[in-house]
Symmetry: C2
Subunit: 336 residues, 2 copies
């Protein structure tokens, strides 16, 4: 464990397999960052439980699925620590202490939570665990003394809340125990669904999964919405809001080619089918090795569980050291 490398905490709720939206939004960055940072990757089953009461099997079944997606995308367990949230009870303990440092009304004002409550139609029936989850997230981050947290821009209020808690805790105990963190925003933060909806999502059935077959990928690209007014090839086409271009923005490696394609499309004469063929080639090239790695790991579930067990043990060591310091700072170390 090198102290020179920054510490990163990031992860995913385990509610379904990951898709290209995750790849662009976070996974791609994590695969790069694991060489430069000490990276902890959280399989957030406990957090997923907060709004999946009665659907806990969905949550627990997807722990391995998300782990497979990580490994398939190129996360190397020798470089990154993949661990299971529910198996690090120190996180629950730290959450409990941080909960005393934030008011209920402050949590209710959190813009991310407000939006998520709206999306889930909770209205007044917000599960207490759900309202509290930003505090649990702050515990996840601070337990590892992470200084960098890769997030989408919709998650910035969470980082702000975390840092408020860090400052409040440190000032309460009069010592710099917890560490403030910084949000690392991805260059391309969000991929639309293939149907043009703002968000790619499993539940909307508009996603391309990381384990998608060659045929699935091709079909999905063919289904992608383009410019509905681009009826004939010669018509001028619109690039903005065009799903295929949104994908090319994320996956076309040659910026000059991309600019040329956009200009050509705008003035007319470039067929959707040509764009789609190009995008399909990029996605096939990207996802073929991912799919192969996923199948290899999926065939050796014992090895995946080993990776998770070892990662979780390492995570517990780090988190328990922080909780030890937190409790000592509060005087809760009677037996030491």
């Amino acid at each position: 464990m090198s102290t020179a490398k920054p510490i990163i905490l990031t992860g995913d709720r385990t509610t379904g397999p990951l898709h290209l939206g995750h790849y662009v939004g976070s996974l791609r960055t994590r695969v790069e960052l694991q060489h430069k940072a000490q990276q902890f990757l959280l399989l957030a089953d406990t957090q997923a439980m907060t709004d999946n009461v009665g659907h806990h099997q969905k949550v627990t079944d997807n722990v391995v699925e998300v782990a497979l997606d990580y490994l398939a995308a190129g996360i190397d367990p020798r470089l990154s620590t993949i661990f299971v949230q529910s198996q690090v009870p120190e996180l629950a303990e730290l959450t409990q202490y941080l909960l005393n440092l934030v008011t209920v009304s402050r949590l209710e004002r959190n813009p991310t939570i407000k939006e998520e409550i709206r999306l889930r139609d909770f209205e007044r029936d917000i599960p207490a665990g759900f309202l509290m989850y930003p505090v649990s997230q702050a515990a996840d981050i601070t337990a590892f003394k992470a200084s960098m947290v890769p997030v989408g821009d919709d998650q910035l209020p969470m980082i702000e809340q975390t840092n408020e808690l860090v400052r409040k805790f440190n000032s309460t105990v009069g010592d710099q125990i917890l560490v403030e963190c910084e949000a690392v925003l991805s260059a391309v933060t969000r991929l639309p669904g293939i149907d043009g909806k703002a968000k790619m999502s499993k539940s909307l059935n508009n996603a391309i999964h990381l384990g998608a077959s060659a045929d699935d990928i091709k079909k999905a690209v063919n289904r992608m919405y383009t410019d509905p007014n681009h009826l004939r090839v010669d018509d001028p086409g619109q690039v903005e809001g065009n799903v295929v271009f949104a994908f090319l923005d994320a996956f076309e490696p040659d910026a000059t080619v991309l600019d040329d394609l956009k200009a050509h499309y705008r003035r007319g004469g470039l067929a959707d089918s040509i764009l789609k063929r190009r995008l399909n080639e990029h996605l096939q090239a990207l996802l073929e090795p991912v799919r192969q790695r996923r199948e290899q790991f999926a065939a050796d579930r014992g090895e995946v569980m080993n990776i998770l067990r070892q990662g979780t043990e390492k995570a517990r060591l780090v988190a328990s050291q922080t909780v030890y310091e937190v409790k000592a700072a509060l005087g809760l170390n009677y037996f030491n």
Copy 2:
């Protein structure tokens, strides 16, 4: 561990030494119950933290003080398990799972919490940890599968909330994992302060502590409010609202004598000083051995810490078994 004996969970926030109000309200019952039940006594430092941010030393310093009061009052560590809440992290873990089963508005409707929020002038600035503490209390009770919880009548909504959570959890996982509990009300639930205020409390400076000296006890009894209209011995006196009679109700062992004293006082001719002398004798007889035991234990702090360490180890064993079952029922047992 006998399975025939009922399991009891009870305890105190560690915010100050205990007084006669605690003795009458709970301690006296616990000393009896330890012979008939498997009794877990919680030193609730984590719970005390929820409304003592910035005053954590008060909370941690009083862990030993309350333990001394328990031992002094006659709690036998061979019969009862005295343990420290913060040192049983399984309780935080269980709390986290129970938090998903209750809504924020349900917690806000809890009459005990409403009253406590009012008393603390929190208004909208309720610490999240404080609003959640009934859930943490439910975790304390259910972690030990306690079937009996000795409480004051003001705490009945807490028991109701606990049983709601038990039913919700069991129905969610489709198994009878957690156990419902029953409130055990003390015969005399509350002792007034020596100044006649409704509640005896350290902060109101109207309490008689369990460790009070003979002189302190005598002075406190002499300070006690009686009937302000009972100016001359021959005047008829009022028994209701008379602090000395409230204490005699709790400490006069002879019911016939007590009835005679009340009748005599009502018709006139019974001096306050006579009542106070009798009460003083009862309190001296009660508290002398308590004070002596307290001094003995206080002189051997290492032994007290040993008792707490052993109690906490035993409590962890029981609580971790329950948390194991809870997590297994939710499918959170990937590595077992």
